[in-house]
Amino acid sequence: MAYGIKLRIWGDYACFTRPEMKVERVSYDVMTPSAARGILEAIHWKPAIRWVVDKIHVLRPIKFDNVRRNEVSSKIPKPNPVTAMRDKKPLYFLVDDGSNRQQRASTLLRDVEYVIEAHFELTDNAGNEDNEGKHLDIFRRRAKKGQFFHQPALGCREFPANFELLEDEMPTSCYAGQSKDLGYMLLDIDFANNMTPLFFRAQMEDGIITPPSPLAMEVHA
């Protein structure tokens, strides 16, 4: 854990959508490793590094709530951006049309707080000018100042995440002393391999989830 960081994250709402219930959205009980990776990448990422989430600490109790939202039912058809680029036309997507709307129910999380423990590895894209210390310092500096490339979110863009670099002691979880089986959870997506989703059996011990490495055998078992 030489280059490890700890980031405390909290927010009013979160929705880490389960793939099987992504239409009428239902959230996972806790943050998924890929969502944690997304938050880290929002703060600092370069092709030279790859974030690996080591642990997710769940600090507040898991609470669900229901909302209904009006969403759209179609995506921008793929040819549109292509022709827009070619003909230098503006790209627009009309959602005024009532038939393009869908009311969808979401079961989401309220009042969440997590600590992400993670480290990064240098990738093949790392050049001579890249070294671990440099990227670690960049991340630390950015996180301390509250800088980010794009607003870190708790699962959905609508639910922004507050964050803080954790340098003090780890806060205690409300699940300390308990263990809980959370079932199979999305670990990440194998982008190199036809975007295959990878799942792992999430066990929460003392409020801590330890995801396996995406390359580990148990994921594919």
């Binding site: 239409v23 039912s73 959370l182 975007m195």
Partner: protein, 581 residues
């Protein structure tokens, strides 16, 4: 979580042979008739499989090779289907489509059926020789048309699709269908062929009768990473079958493990087989002890048991004190489903232990506990009875789904009652000028759980000095004086002033008290009612003496307490004073 738990439930039930859970590759379908075939394929008879239920004939539910998911496309089921597939005639007059359906049905059978088996051979001969016209010319054709048919070989017990040769053919057919995308299943974690579509789930109130899906991707906006349909959420075909079959059996018509509240259908099950699975429905909807007809002995015992259990848990005792055999540690699952545009949305999901669940339900009933207005009213009102009291005209269809969901959630999880409960109940009281037992109980529960109020009395409390409570009592006394002085008045003070007295006491009470003086004066002139006049006047003075002035307005919480005070005082007028003297 939920799908995982359903999958486990299926595995548990399949091992229990009494449960009649269909094995993988079959499904329980509604079948109306069996074509009884001779070995040469001619129709011997048509057997009516329907069962009489009440005075209506219902199709029989029986296991058959698993149904295809049908939308607008043509997909034949194996060795059973509706008449347009089996015979090539439908009840919609679309002959051209029926012909194509029939062809698809024959083609599938030809491809997989082993003709050395007499049963399958007879079916193929029946189809090839065009015997289906024989059926269409029968007198009872209007009955048969459009229903689901199976085959039976004359003189042989059982149906053709149950013959071992048919089963082998079906598993070959199934194996072909399964081919395709393999990926890691998100329920079992194993690498298996993934289901593109999941079987439909029937039995959720308000959803399409042909069934709806939990896992479905019926619009492009729901799809990600260029994946189609259910490949967006890789679930193996076996797991998809297991969870839908388990859910369907929980949702079946005669299931003891489901209940409908508002627009949501709730099902519940335990991780292990326990007795409580059978009676949880009664906790939501306690059977009334008084209206119990002297039917079966068993029923009466279980009713008494549930009342005993409810009594125990609402008194705050441990459920195992009452039922020692109850295993409180068993995990319990509750799932609430509501339809939304051909899909099912998860309205509620809870994983808890039986002991915890009973405790929160007990707390709910403890908070609701209030002296009944009439003896016929239930001690443990069901959620439906409570919700109807918040609806216009007392009709179920006017119940607000948000309120119904919130109240159920509050009952099962111990969370606060929905914020809009208080205004809705006050609105109903304002509109109907009536504080019923159920409404007063709801107000009490709300005040106890959602506000900082530490105590709201169960029955009339003459010692209580909260001003809203006293004002409520005072209003009841004023109403009583009018009732006795002017019996049968068209519009009483309650009809006119109940709501405004609660909301703006200082504006209304002066007027009411002036009127009351007249009513009491009238009573005093009557020799027989003189005593009542003295009693009511003294009671009024006693109550007024406990506070200084009338508040200009009262908050909704105070209005709630006002209504409870009114309810208690009024109830007190009609209670025989046994301990007096």
């Amino acid at each position: 979580m939920m799908l995982h738990a359903l999958n486990e439930y299926y595995q548990r039930m399949v091992e229990d042979h009494d449960s009649r859970m269909p094995p993988y590759g079959t499904s329980i379908e509604n079948i109306s008739f069996a074509l009884v075939l001779d070995e040469d394929g001619s129709v011997k008879a048509i057997e009516d499989l329907r069962e009489l239920n009440g005075n209506k004939l219902h199709p029989r539910k029986m296991p058959v090779p698993a149904a295809e998911k049908k939308a607008s496309g043509i997909k034949a089921n194996f060795l059973w289907d509706a008449t347009n597939y089996v015979l090539g005639f439908d009840d919609k007059g679309k002959q051209e489509r029926a012909d194509r359906c029939h062809e698809a049905f024959i083609e599938q059978l030809k491809k997989y059926c082993d003709v050395s088996d007499p049963g399958l051979k007879a079916v193929l001969k029946f189809l090839e020789n065009g015997h289906s016209k024989d059926v269409a010319n029968r007198e009872d054709w209007p009955d048969i048309c459009g229903s689901n048919l199976v085959f039976r070989l004359d003189g042989v017990p059982g149906f053709v699709h149950d013959r071992s040769a048919a089963r082998e053919s079906w598993s070959a057919c199934l194996a072909d269908k399964e081919q395709g995308n393999t990926s890691q299943c998100l329920i079992t974690g194993r690498k298996r062929p993934i289901a593109r579509l999941h079987p439909s789930i029937k039995g959720v109130r308000g959803a399409q009768s042909s069934g709806a899906s939990i896992v479905s991707f019926n619009l492009s906006a729901f799809e990600s990473y260029g994946k189609q349909q259910s490949f967006n959420a890789p679930i193996s075909q076996e797991a998809a079958f297991s969870y839908t079959t388990a859910l369907s059996s929980l949702l079946a018509l005669d299931s003891r493990q489901k209940i409908t509240i508002g627009d949501t259908t709730y099902v519940f099950w335990a991780k292990k087989a326990i007795e409580a699975e059978g009676f949880l429905a009664d906790l939501f909807d306690p059977p009334s002890e008084d209206t119990q007809k002297p039917t079966e002995q068993d029923d009466q015992i279980s009713t008494r048991n549930i009342h005993g259990l409810l009594k125990a848990i609402s008194d705050g005792r441990k459920p195992s004190d009452f039922m020692p055999e109850l295993n409180e540690d068993v995990s319990f699952y509750i799932l609430g489903l509501a339809p939304n545009a051909a899909r099912l949305s998860i309205r509620f999901w809870q994983e808890t232990s039986l002991g915890e669940l009973l405790e929160t339900v007990g707390r709910h009933y403890r908070e609701l506990n209030l002296v009944q207005q009439f003896d016929s009213e239930p001690e443990f009102p069901s959620l439906w009875r409570l919700l109807v009291q918040t609806a216009t005209l007392g009709k179920s269809e006017n119940i607000s789904p948000v309120l119904a969901g919130g109240l159920t959630r509050a009952m099962l999880t111990g969370q606060p009652y929905p914020q809009n409960l208080l205004p809705v109940v006050l609105d109903r009281i304002r509109a109907e000028h009536n504080v019923t037992y159920f409404r007063a109980a709801l107000l009490k529960a709300y005040l106890l759980r959602n506000t900082r109020m530490e105590e709201v009395p169960v029955s009339f409390d003459p010692e209580r000095t909260d001003q809203p409570y006293l004002l409520g009592r005072l209003f009841a006394v004023i109403e009583k004086a009018q009732e006795e002085a002017v019996p049968g008045a068209n519009a009483t003070v309650k009809d006119r002033y109940l709501a405004s007295a609660a909301a703006t006491p200082s504006l209304v009470f002066h007027l009411l008290l002036k009127n009351q003086t007249n009513h009491i004066a009238k009573l005093r002139k009557d020799q027989e009612k003189k005593g009542r006049a003295v009693y009511l006047e003294r009671l009024t003075q006693d109550i007024i003496g406990l506070f200084d002035n009338y508040p200009k307005t009262q908050s909704p919480e105070q209005q709630g307490l006002f209504m409870i005070g009114y309810y208690h005082q009024r109830k007190d007028f009609f209670t025989k004073k046994t301990q007096e003297g």
